[in-house]
Symmetry: C2
């Protein structure tokens, strides 16, 4: 299969990139074709601005959804964005590898999402009716593909546990896993998270690498996180709220959007 | 009082910036001193990289916490970052104004956090002992100041409600309000969130502006979100998990970190 890895650490010798390379090695050993986009190495432009939309008349306000939709439809997005979109369409799986900075992804990776995820490509796809609210959350242009996060974290695991002070890791990652990956259609695999990344010694690296290799060997077999599909009956349209028949009314928050809850 | 506003929309005529200016006008009318940092206007650099740490020997790995801590301590952070830090120290309140892109802030604002929030400035502050785990989550260099988000959102409010498909807005904002603002000490005010931003007409803008003016008139009187202080007894040190005596054991997730829960 074809796998796209996007990584976002400024140091080529970082733990994030070392683990990325462990993943690549295993995937290639298993016969997959792997493409790496190292956002720092390609000097990725992080900011959405007018330069992204050369067809937008200077007199016209920059409304990002409209401008990106028109540029996507007319093929006038920038070359870096068009290439990234092509690679996402070609790949059967996407892995995002990054250090957790301030409880989210580094700016350069957020900027990759902000720019590559054009209207008409990753959102604003599909028809709206009484029974469908566009192709999103389990449907969309990237449906049928798999995605996974590889995250290195400075802090302790317990600080990110169910009652840990930072908030549970699965909730901190929900805006990415559900909002960025499941939204345009990806099946999202459980994340691979490494804690106390700055303190890892060689033994720790070997153990972690073997865990990661095992995950990579099963990347096309593993069961995805059971996020609820938008148009499969669990949500009222157009309010897009969970139906009482689907999820008991006392359940709220991120967890209610997983079918196992 | 002294108020710092940081805004992050690429169009000077956007709703985000129009609302920012409504806030500025009211705050100035009330006698406050307001400084605006428009990240697009100043061409803010979003990416943390080696250029941020000129004192780091080329042969040395870039470990961001260590490098930023050394640069902060030795006064060798870049001028844009040092100026931003000075302004945060001078201000009594901080307002971040931005459009919600992919359930988080635009990359340029994330890059402002990533770069300005150096080790020793916003984290890595204070002593660790049996009774304290550094000055964070309610303590820290920015303690005693207030902060607030002004967020424009394309989607519908119900989609961001307690059972809305995107997840509740207060949970989507938790990594920012708790993880970015409360962490270095800010008292965090409830966010000002505008939905269906792309569809707002003049009447809607007037109503919204008046709501915002009212919020600005009370910015130093309003009750902050009651996030739990780290070192006030609710958490076990060093595991940093909620004590059963503080919060019943069946409560997990973001909400458990608000004292009202």
């Amino acid at each position: 299969m074809n796998i796209q890895i996007v990584s976002a650490h400024p140091d080529p010798n970082s733990l994030t990139n070392a683990l990325r390379d462990v993943a690549v090695e295993q995937l290639r050993a298993d016969g997959h074709i792997v493409r790496i986009t190292d956002l720092y190495a390609v000097n990725w432009k992080s900011e959405v601005d007018r330069e992204d939309f050369s067809a937008l008349p200077p007199s016209q306000r920059l409304r990002v959804p409209a401008a990106s939709g028109e540029a996507f439809a007319s093929g006038t997005l920038t070359e870096d964005v068009k290439l990234a979109q092509e690679r996402l369409l070609e790949a059967d799986a996407l892995i995002l590898a990054f250090p957790l900075w301030w409880f989210s992804m580094p700016a350069i990776l957020k900027g990759w999402i902000d720019r590559v995820y054009a209207y008409g490509f990753a959102y604003g796809v599909g028809e709206h009716s009484d029974t469908r609210w566009g192709d999103r959350y389990g449907e969309g242009r990237l449906a049928g593909k798999r995605a996974m996060l590889l995250v290195t974290v400075g802090g302790w695991a317990s600080h990110y546990g169910p009652r840990g002070i930072n908030g549970p890791m699965e909730d901190l990652l929900f805006p990415i896993q559900h909002g960025v990956l499941f939204y345009p259609g990806y099946d999202v695999l459980p994340p691979f998270v490494v804690y106390r990344a700055d303190r890892m010694d060689e033994t720790g690296f070997e153990v972690t690498s073997e865990d990661l290799r095992e995950r990579m060997r099963n990347v096309f077999n593993e069961t995805p996180i059971p996020f609820r599909q938008q148009n499969a009956g669990d949500y009222v349209i157009p309010a897009m709220e969970l139906r009482p028949e689907a999820v008991p009314v006392h359940l709220t928050g991120f967890a209610a959007h997983r079918a196992s809850e």
